[in-house]
Amino acid sequence: MPVAERSMVGTLGLALMGAGLRSARPLQKIVLGSVGAGLAAMAATGRNPLATALKIRQTPSGDVLVGDAVTIGVPADELYARWRDLASLPQLMTHLQRVEVLDERRSRWTVSAPTGEVSWEAEITTDEPGQRLGWQSVPGATIDNAGEVQFRPAPGGRGTEVIVHLTYRPPGGTAGAVLARLAGEEPAQQLRDDLMRFKREQELGFAPTTDGQSSGRANAGGSA
């Protein structure tokens, strides 16, 4: 996959299911800071950024497919209800600017981009309470995309398995301007981050953090 295309895929992944750039920065900083060790691990596992990009799955029609799963110790009904409240999804998926619910089936999704905001209309295609929720952009959307989240009981009373699949078609046009700045983001990683954020919200009610803790760095938190 050529670099430009890879960038586009990565960028669109961000637009669709991104983790916030805020959470990406410490990672990048530290991974770069330990570049030797990181490269060694990548080399040894045969995974470099390009190889990771090449693992991006595609459907026969050329759409990009991203999928992941997480087990959450909460009943499926509660998880479904959280997900079905589309207007609150931006709390889970930090790349989303907002989701406006237009009616029972239709909603308008907005993400921010350097050129301004990009938005499209989506409609719910599958709605099985407590089990499955699917959606698809309506024809003519800026970014042609579809998604589905499945909720199924985990064996042994461990809660619910949440499985997400997303597909999208890399377009040109408006989204092109988004590319340069956001290149390199990995949609699969962003989906995983979103699922972990969801799990922690549901199991703990908060996200663990070290932001503001004391350290020997200038401007560290805490009180002197």
């Binding site: 410490p26 991974v31 995983r192 972990m196 199991e203 663990p208 004391s214 760095r217």
Partner: protein, 392 residues
């Protein structure tokens, strides 16, 4: 407050840093009365653990007095005296509910960093042990923020001295879990322990408590071997003897029924394997040197267990897998599930079965810590375990 701060490979220093504050309603702040330097801190000093940042506060073995609690904390009150496990666990995820506290799904805010570096899912967070383990500030300091305060800290209500209970935070449960993982058959099984550092000492004594018929400890440092002998263990100095031959002689040719690798990634040793390991580690091509692990596999008896409390960081090769397969060995490893051992082991201390303070050789102030890191690493001055008084 005063704290021990990582300043880069081979540099730790004492710095004045801001006091910690509550960051979440489930946090507590502990005024530290005793803290220790752990053998695994030496991996940080040596710079072989990735994702350390200049300014990180070190330390994961500490205890003290609760001075502040967040509004969601239910089990702790200001004034409680607590020991705090080195690993941070949420208490509600599936691994936590199964007692696998060190494998907590939720306590590491930087889980994606561990995934990037290991190529696999991360365990939970650790105090003072790199950003891929959460980047939590450690407890070689006067105060520390303790997240998930209802899950980790264990109250000490008897009048045992700090020195008798401090090691419940890490090295005692770590040595104990290593012995427990062997599945020792009392009165029958012979256990060998590679590495007579603090964890090895506790592993050897725990194997005895669990009924091992005979315990053999292997190291090269005379005072460490002497400490093991005091507990009634047989010892082998691998610089004077061929370890594999000596272990066969000590076990009628069978080999030890179980072998504990209490050394981990920075093993010394000799031979071509050890040289290759060291070169690769220096070149950052590998995190690990595995002499002790190789010996453990080669010496272990048929059907035995190789138990690994020692820390490993990355990918290893030149592992004698053929020998492991031929003998049908079981491998057990991983960070200690400290939270589940503290109560029972505290009971053993209170019952007088063991006094963990035997392992202490050095006591010092925080100001002396940077020097003692080096004394400990170089095994000078008979140094086996250092306890620090943050207020001295």
């Amino acid at each position: 407050m005063k704290a021990i701060v990582w300043q880069g490979a081979n540099h730790v220093g004492v710095e004045t840093v801001p006091d910690p504050t509550l960051l979440l309603p489930s946090d507590a702040i502990v005024r530290i009365t005793s803290t220790a330097i752990c053998g695994s801190d030496l991996h940080l000093l040596d710079g072989v653990i990735p994702s350390m940042d200049r300014g990180d506060i070190l330390g994961h073995e500490f205890m003290g007095e609760v001075v502040e609690v967040g509004r969601d904390v239910k089990t702790l009150r200001v004034g409680d005296r607590v020991v705090v496990p080195f690993n941070i666990a949420c208490g509600v995820c599936d691994p936590c509910r199964r007692g696998l506290f060190s494998a907590c799904d939720n306590s590491n805010p930087n889980h994606r960093m561990a995934e990037a570096l290991y190529g696999a899912v991360s365990g939970g967070g650790l105090f003072g042990y790199s950003h891929m383990y959460g980047g939590y500030a450690g407890g070689q300091a006067q105060y520390v923020r303790v997240p998930f305060a209802d899950v980790g800290p264990h109250k000490i209500e008897s009048d045992l001295r700090d020195e008798q209970v401090l090691f419940l935070t890490d090295i005692f449960p770590t040595g104990y879990q290593a012995a427990e993982n062997c599945g020792i058959v009392p009165g029958r099984d012979v256990v060998a322990v590679f590495g007579a550092g603090p964890v090895g000492q506790f592993a050897a004594r725990s194997a005895q408590m669990l009924g091992a018929a005979h315990v053999i400890v292997i190291d090269r440092v005379p005072e460490r071997l002497a400490m093991a002998q005091t507990a009634g263990c047989q010892t082998i100095n691998y610089e004077q003897d061929d370890v594999l031959v000596a272990l066969r002689e000590a076990t009628g040719g069978r080999g030890p029924d179980h072998v504990i690798d209490a050394v981990g990634m920075e093993a010394h040793g000799h031979g071509p394997g050890a040289l290759v390991d060291t070169a690769k580690q220096r070149l950052k091509l590998s995190f690990d040197r595995i002499t002790a692990l190789r010996w453990a596999i080669l010496s272990c008896a048929k059907g035995g267990t190789v138990s690994m409390p020692g820390v490993y960081g990355g990918l290893i090769d030149k592992l004698p897998m053929g020998a492991a397969f031929a003998k049908g060995l079981t491998f057990k490893m991983g960070q200690t599930h400290t939270q589940r051992h503290i109560g029972p082991l505290l009971g053993r201390i209170e019952a007088g079965e063991i006094d963990p303070s035997f392992v202490i050789t050095h006591r010092a102030s925080l100001d002396q810590a940077p020097e003692l890191y080096k004394t400990f690493r170089n095994k000078h001055d008979g140094c086996i375990k250092v306890v620090l008084d943050p207020w001295a």
